[in-house]
Symmetry: C2
Subunit: 519 residues, 2 copies
């Protein structure tokens, strides 16, 4: 998966391949028909035949022209640890009308492991493209995800697709993803008044002094803020909110980030935050910032920014104007795009529901099709041409042009020669005979690599750490020609076949499809 | 959860509550801010306060007016087994800027466990309503589900919502759901010709005779079919398909169900199926039926039915006309509705992607809000009135009318008297002062029950087997007034508050919301 390793060829890894992350990924996590078919194959004496399957999808998700392929590692973990327990065999034997043989029953599980992984990684990558490189993207989706490992997988693959951090502690622990989080509305509304705060002292950041009554310091700052000109027409702030912020700052003086929309962002949340932040500043701490979770995020972020800047100049607090503003609340690709068009002052986006459930398109249509058995090519026909599969064991290449962009991907039969740099090669649409182009690649990248060859001792590519896969994903996306990646009417990125493979597909097709008779 | 148990009151269950189905459901499956807040609560001395949270959603999914609430059992399993390992505590300590106390950090996990469960159960119930009671509904979604337990949860909760069976073997084993499955296109295309079948003998159903060459018997029947008038204009069938069907029948003579659309449904798949089915019939077996997975399902099912009926009368095979037709291929609520309108002959529907990913609406917005702390009611305010939460620990009742339909649900404060049968009670919209109605209930059902009271020894409702929960769900849906359940413009089913609770909400609201000043 990492092109940088290409020059050295595949590596041998001696380390054990761990079991799948989710212990529920067992050989039984499959459709019943995989067992019935395995039994029928065995009855027909076909269980020793060598079969080749392609795992692929037919259409890129979200109306786009790219997909981040993800989930290979979990597939390899599953295959490398594929073993039935006695109890599992007993269950299958009872569930099936016949005796069951152990066979390679991988289809459903592999497709399951790749489908959502690729879908959500692609979704994350699309959010990154819209948000731009400079913004911090936080995945906050666990509570709305499709079940426990819907949430855990989403955290993993959103990070892979270009997010910076997650709120999901379990994913942080399992995959080493940076963790981010603050507090909720419930925290704010659990406080009634400043009197509830019993432990009021706070030591300064350098440890040199102790502020005996931090609550009083906060109140002093709030009074100062309320007397400024720019505070103007606002009335009192909500004091239970102030109590919550103050408590939180006492617990986390180094990490004070306040959710400011429980009562009223501009009249209460932002001034309360500033009072606490300025009190922290007196003790040598720098507040992290605010989070907006409702309302007009473009407007509120701009107003909050003005307020921070006014504080900076009024009280001479250098850098206060740049206090981080995080926004959340049902964000998605489209709302990010709208925010950009309106103009906003948000530095970080917390994205949940629409990201992790892939709301705009909740499934990717990965399929797993037989393309060769016992060296005989096989092909699935269909009245719907988009459902016809491409036969033969294949090799795939990405051909790059002069400007460094990928021009086209090319599939060739396993035994055909690889395309060569600076050599002209005919690339054909697999089904449309008039669509073809000669390509002279400036660089050729082989896309299919071997991550599992039937045994853990054999040669195979290294499994990279998640961070490295993420880096590669970001690099790969950056090298694409921008018009393939834009949200509106992206230019299709083409996947072609060699002339030889084209001819073979159509020979086989005519050979297998019945000819109708009209009377 | 089961109203039939009401009369006997809650039961004490001595049995141990099992761990969550998915071992990944641990105390770390939560947002980081739950830990930071727990620490801040502890620092503020609030960790011994008694808090009440409501878990609720604001809008029914799929444009409907009902939701099947599901997921309680997994929540209880999680709570009853809530315990940090040493390693987990170490991780939280490192991840957090401060020492962590163990606290009740349930929000994210509970919401996660309820959200998707309720969403997909509701989706299943909606499919059942459209399909009608008489159809068999099969959940085939594992491969397209959002990850491994997206698939397993979907199988569980689709069954709860009214489906009949699943293809997911793991779900069958975990939850006792009936399993269904046949074979795939890959199975069909893995065969080349009838010559591949080496073991050709098949014993008759009653064991009395052995057919030495079942393949020949199938071919004989195919020839007979091809000579009939109704076969008419069709040419040869695909013989690799015939080989696959024959092999499958040899393996599963009792359960022969054929996928007939690999090459051509009417020219190849259906006649091939009939040849094998009639050969099986000669040996005393009854074929299960066919599955259609592409094309115009209404048309193809009607044509297939005609063909079966023609076979029945041509060869005098009683009942052959009723051979089961199963349809799959990207079905959803809307396509079922269209099929009904066009007229079709499908007996069973296999539904996958759109069902298990809840494609029409991929998330439910369950939230978890603090409503009381230390006996003090709390309420979350918001500029958006739909986001305001209803304070106080509450009791909920369903009030039934004369015709047996539920009229309205009513929330009252914990210490208010319960509504009584035949006594008039005022029910008010929680936020709209002019919406109110007097209700004289003919029956009152208490909706909130205690499934966990802090310890496994205490009184609590029984956890019912999945089958019983499913039965209750079906009964509950059937008793709703039909206009609440229809797909187009359903009548809203109302949830109201008592007059006393209404007054209290608005008193608290005015008390807590800041008053703006205009200049």
């Amino acid at each position: 998966m990492d092109e940088q390793n290409r020059d050295n060829g595949p590596k041998i890894t001696k380390s054990i391949i761990n079991a799948p992350t989710n212990p529920m990924v067992t050989p039984l996590l499959t459709d019943l028909y995989q067992f019935t078919m395995a039994y029928a194959y065995w009855k027909a004496g076909k269980h020793n035949e060598r079969a080749v399957f392609d795992l692929f999808f037919r259409r890129n998700p979200f109306g786009g022209e790219f997909t981040v392929f993800a989930g290979v590692e979990e597939c390899i973990r599953y295959i490398a640890n594929f073993k039935f327990t006695e109890a599992e065999i007993d269950f299958v034997r009872d569930a099936m009308p016949g005796k069951c043989e152990v066979a390679q029953l991988l289809e459903t599980t592999l497709v399951n492991l790749v489908n959502f992984a690729s879908l959500v990684a692609t979704n994350a990558a699309r959010h990154r493209i819209v948000a731009g490189k400079s913004k911090m993207l936080l995945e906050f989706g666990l509570r709305r995800a499709q079940g426990p490992d819907g949430g855990i997988s989403a955290s993993k693959y959103c990070y892979l697709g270009g997010f910076d951090a997650t709120s999901n502690v379990s994913a942080g622990r399992l995959f080493g993803i940076p963790l981010k989080g603050t507090h909720s509305h419930a925290f704010v509304s659990s406080f009634m008044s400043l009197d509830e705060i019993l432990e009021k002292s706070l030591r300064s950041a350098d440890g040199s002094t102790l502020c005996e009554d931090f609550v009083n310091l906060v109140q002093t700052w709030l009074n100062k803020i309320q007397r400024t000109k720019f505070y103007g027409g606002f009335g009192e702030t909500n004091l239970s909110e102030l109590a919550a912020f103050t408590s939180y700052a006492l617990a986390f003086p180094e990490n004070f980030l306040a959710l400011v929309d429980t009562y009223d962002v501009l009249r209460s949340g932002v001034p309360n935050f500033c009072a606490v932040a300025l009190a922290l500043k007196d003790l040598g701490y720098k507040a992290m910032g605010i989070r907006l979770d409702s309302g007009d995020l473009a407007y509120l972020s701009c107003e909050a920014r003005k307020f921070f800047q006014a504080i900076e100049s009024e009280f001479g607090v250098t850098g206060f104007g740049n206090t981080t503003i995080t926004a959340s609340n049902d964000l998605n690709e489209e709302t990010l795009d709208h925010l950009n068009k309106q103009g906003h002052e948000v530095d970080a986006f917390g994205i949940g529901t629409y990201l992790v459930t892939c709301y705009a398109q909740a499934a990717l249509g990965c399929v797993f099709k037989l393309v060769e058995i016992n060296n005989q090519p096989r092909m699935k026909l269909s009245e719907d041409v988009s459902k016809v599969s491409i036969p033969c064991k294949k090799r795939c290449y990405r051909l790059y042009g002069k400007e460094g962009y990928p021009l086209v991907d090319l599939m060739v039969g396993e035994n055909e020669p690889a395309p060569k740099v600076a050599e002209r090669i005919l690339c054909r649409h697999p089904f449309n005979e008039s669509k073809r182009a000669y390509v002279v690649p400036q660089r050729v990248e082989e896309l299919l690599k071997c991550y599992w060859s039937g045994s853990s001792d054999k040669m195979r590519e290294d499994m990279l750490p998640l961070k490295d896969i993420r880096d590669r994903c970001i690099r790969q996306l950056e090298q694409m020609r921008p018009d393939h990646m834009r949200r509106l009417n992206p230019t299709p990125y083409k996947v072609s076949v060699s002339a030889k493979l084209y001819d073979f597909i159509h020979f086989l097709w005519l050979n297998e499809a019945p000819v109708g008779e009209l009377q």
